[in-house]
């Protein structure tokens, strides 16, 4: 700037004037929080120069292949894990409601997940009828058993996947042990069936806090509570009130509420306005699927269910895709992303990033795509492409 002595004065003056103008117009804010910035960044200059943590020790993980194409997807994922050299050992349980003879007992599966703290799970198909008259499905039983109260689906536009909207990055958090899924239905008089929707203050506050904690941890700016309190004034009203209470503890995160019908419309017309959404059980189920459809369908969205002690990673939109069994066409992306999330959760970021990078590269290149993304490749070809792209 000041190399030319003749231009020195002029440029300085111009700069000064510009600077003044900017400040005066309020477009440039002076660094009033300078000390705070320094505070945050100073320690990085003397960090430890050792290689990234790549432990030789092995971690155990429970594996539930699930129904439909689940076993094929799991096979694909374990192949990728093997090729990447991931230090994870799987404890496999066949767990199914439609194939009851072969299913492992719920207690064993729950005990294994409790012990390991992590689980990868395919989707369990739920029959439309109940053989024993019991209303709870196996999925619900597992969630209740482990108290997996929070379901998180991270809906994110993937590179190379064509869809109506781009740059979607929304997290949908769903309460999943109460609400409409209470499995309390009865016929009071002939022809009149009552289904009880249960909302409790404790669980509503817990899921709201989960959503805000998730937002804090992941540097998200806004939490939207989705409800239908205008109709269900007491039930959803309690949910909404609990969210508002918890929101007071998070002054740096914006809190909004939206009615579920409006939310679904906004989601398809202007999905980028959503950051973190928190909602009761059934709305979550619907919005999860809707949002998954926006970014490429059930084959590419990963999800996870949390209790305080353990996590079950499973695809975000729950479809077994049973018509494709044995056809070698299912998309393993969702399952692979579940795998990377699981690796990050147990501090194996090195491997998580490696697989994540490979998935992104293959999708971005767009040469190998399964049918659901408009390609002609098989599950196997896709898996091999991922393995070839591991770096």
């Amino acid at each position: 700037m000041c190399t030319d002595p003749a231009g020195h004065f002029g440029s300085m003056a111009a700069l000064g004037k510009n600077f003044f103008n900017l400040v005066a117009r309020g477009t440039l804010s002076l660094p009033s929080h300078h000390a705070r910035c320094l505070h945050g960044s100073a320690p990085n200059e003397n960090s430890i120069q050792a290689p990234v943590s790549k432990p030789k020790s092995r971690t155990k993980c429970t594996l539930i292949p699930g129904d439909g194409v689940g076993p094929e997807l799991m096979y694909s994922m374990t192949e990728v894990f093997k090729a990447a050299g991931v230090p994870i050992d799987f404890e496999q349980f066949f767990f199914s409601e439609v194939n009851q003879l072969m299913s492992a007992p719920l207690e064993d599966v729950a005990a294994s997940i409790r012990k390991n703290g992590i689980c990868l799970k395919g989707i369990l198909s739920t029959p439309d009828y109940s053989r024993t008259g019991e209303l709870q499905t196996l999925n619900m039983k597992l969630r209740r058993e482990l108290d997996l109260f929070a379901n998180v689906v991270h809906v994110r536009s993937l590179p190379g996947v064509k869809s109506r909207h781009t740059n979607i990055d929304t997290v949908i958090i769903r309460e999943q042990i109460e609400g409409e899924y209470s499995a309390l239905e009865h016929e009071t008089v002939k022809g009149v069936v009552e289904c009880l929707k249960i909302v409790t203050q404790r669980n509503s506050a817990r899921i709201a806090k989960f959503a805000f904690d998730y937002a804090t941890k992941n540097n998200r700016k806004k939490v939207t509570a989705v409800h239908k309190a205008n109709i269900m004034k007491l039930g959803d009203g309690l949910f909404l009130r609990s969210c508002q209470e918890i929101a007071k503890l998070y002054p740096k995160i914006k809190f909004e509420s939206m009615i579920v019908d409006n939310c679904t419309m906004q989601m398809v017309s202007n999905p980028r306005q959503f950051d973190v959404c928190v909602m009761p059980n059934l709305y979550g189920n619907i919005v999860d699927n809707l949002a998954a459809g926006l970014v490429g369908g059930a084959g590419v969205v990963a999800g996870a269910s949390y209790s305080s002690k353990c996590v079950v990673f499973e695809p975000g939109a729950r479809h077994t895709f049973s018509e494709a069994v044995g056809k070698n066409v299912a998309n393993p992306t969702a399952m692979l992303l579940c795998g990377t999330k699981m690796l990050n959760h147990v501090n194996l970021q090195y491997y998580g990033d490696m697989i994540r990078g490979a998935v992104d590269r293959v999708l971005k290149a767009g040469k190998v795509r399964t049918k659901d993304l408009g390609g002609q490749s098989t599950t196997n070809e896709f898996t091999f492409a991922i393995i070839n792209n591991l770096k």
């Binding site: 929080h33 000390a35 705070r36 505070h39 945050g40 100073a42 320690p43 990085n44 003397n46 960090s47 430890i48 050792a50 943590s53 432990p55 030789k56 020790s57 092995r58 971690t59 155990k60 703290g117 992590i118 929070a150 506050a205 817990r206 806090k209 989960f210 805000f212 904690d213 998730y214 804090t216 941890k217 503890l249 998070y250 002054p251 740096k252 996870a304 949390y306 209790s307 305080s308 002690k309 353990c310 996590v311 959760h345 147990v346 501090n347």
Partner: protein, 399 residues
């Protein structure tokens, strides 16, 4: 006693909380706004529990780097946690030491409320003007962290005057001389109130005895100055005698603070668990830390009914050595280990503890405050190296 005290002060509190100017005559000498700002409720607070931030076995923990060497020490903790695979996510809340406002501090307190647990360096309060609270004290009062626990245990590898010291120091943390109630009644006469309540005394003394019982300690010593402050310290002493009757298998005695300091430097091995009021606690903890190797080794824990905050045992910011790569990271690492034990990650805690032990006692990698030549990074690198060795053929979370 407490009820009598509270009946005297509570109405006064209510009126200030409501922002009304109808103060009683005693407090009217100090201007209302200052009193209002300075005043902290010295009584036990009833706080409603908020669900803890633990999801899928991972905890969120509030990190307050504080001033001086705090930020660099926190960075070492992060680094060590990364190598030990600790399932803890930090939410960092920096507090600007220059500002007179308390927004940063309020946010930090809210954050600890949400997470339940905090790891903290020493926060500076630069401003000496009367309206500004000491932020460390404000934090403890707001969260009602009524007990401060410091374990002073000798490191065999550190040269010090005494070996094999293992004293548990338990200190009342929210009232006493730190009640921050000072005023100038007439020009040239300043009164500072020391508040002792039966309720808070009993809580902290009960904690001491329960701790002793749980950890197989033999003796609890109450430190006081009841010969001079017959009412306030007398209450503390009376309470401890009363509580001691509920624990017949634990020996109880008492000692006057001045004698205690002398005994500490001449014959520290006679002490087992010590319980005391606020100001004596800060003195005794510094004496003890000095005896076994300085401020850089020992960690302290602050507990309330719902929250826990962990910090280095002696509350010094170390501004003079900040950024010179010579601060001893061990005290903050020990505080982090305490935190892991509190959260229930015993295996991770053990691994880090063993690594620290090997670094200090076997490899003798000491920073200048322990008479060594090593830098902070040397110490942390050695700890990391030991962690990697310890976890070579087993999982982090398995012991």
């Amino acid at each position: 006693m407490a009820s009598r005290l509270s009946s005297r002060i509570l109405p006064l509190l209510r009126s200030t909380n409501a922002g009304q100017l109808t103060l009683s005559r005693t407090a009217a000498s100090a201007s209302v706004s200052e009193f209002d700002m300075q005043h902290k409720n010295p009584f036990a607070k009833k706080v409603i529990a908020i669900p803890k931030a633990e999801y899928g076995g991972r905890h969120s923990v509030t990190m307050l780097p504080g001033g001086g060497i705090g930020p660099e020490l926190m960075n070492y903790v992060r680094e060590v946690f990364r190598y030990a695979g600790v399932p803890v996510d930090f939410e960092e809340c920096p507090i600007d030491p220059q500002s007179d406002g308390n927004e940063d501090l309020e946010y930090a307190i809210t954050s600890i409320r949400r997470n339940g647990v905090g790891l903290k360096g020493n926060i500076e309060t630069r401003s000496l003007s009367r309206g500004i609270l000491s932020r460390n004290v404000a934090l403890r009062n707001e969260l009602d962290l009524f007990v401060n626990v410091i374990r002073c245990k000798s490191f065999p590898g550190v040269k010090s005057r005494y070996q094999d010291i293992d004293i548990m120091l338990i200190r009342q943390n929210t009232e006493g001389e730190y009640a921050m109630l000072e005023h100038e009644s007439v020009p040239g006469v300043v009164e500072s109130m020391k508040i002792v309540t039966a309720e808070n005394s009993e809580r902290v003394i009960r904690y001491a005895f329960e701790y002793a019982q749980k950890h197989g300690r033999k003796k609890v010593t109450t430190i006081h100055k009841a010969n001079i402050m017959k009412l306030s310290d007398g209450l503390f002493l009376e309470t401890s005698k009363r509580v001691a009757k509920h624990f017949p298998d634990i020996e109880h005695d008492s000692m006057i603070i001045d004698n205690c300091c002398m005994q500490l430097v001449s014959n520290p091995h006679q002490f087992d668990v010590m319980v005391m009021t606020n100001l004596y606690g800060t003195i005794v903890s510094n004496v003890l830390c000095g005896l076994i190797g300085g401020a850089g080794l020992i960690s302290g824990r602050n507990y309330g009914d719902h929250y826990a905050v962990f910090e280095p045992g002696t509350r010094n910011t170390g501004t003079a050595i900040a950024g010179k790569n010579i601060a001893n990271p061990v005290s903050m690492l020990n505080a982090a280990v305490d935190m892991l034990e509190h959260l229930g990650h015993q295996n991770h805690a053990n691994i880090i503890l063993q690594a620290i032990d090997k670094t200090i006692n076997e490899d003798h990698i000491h920073t200048p405050d322990l008479g060594g030549q090593a830098t902070s990074i040397d110490v942390v690198q050695s700890v990391v190296k030991h962690i990697q060795e310890l976890t070579k053929d087993k999982n982090w979370s398995l012991n």
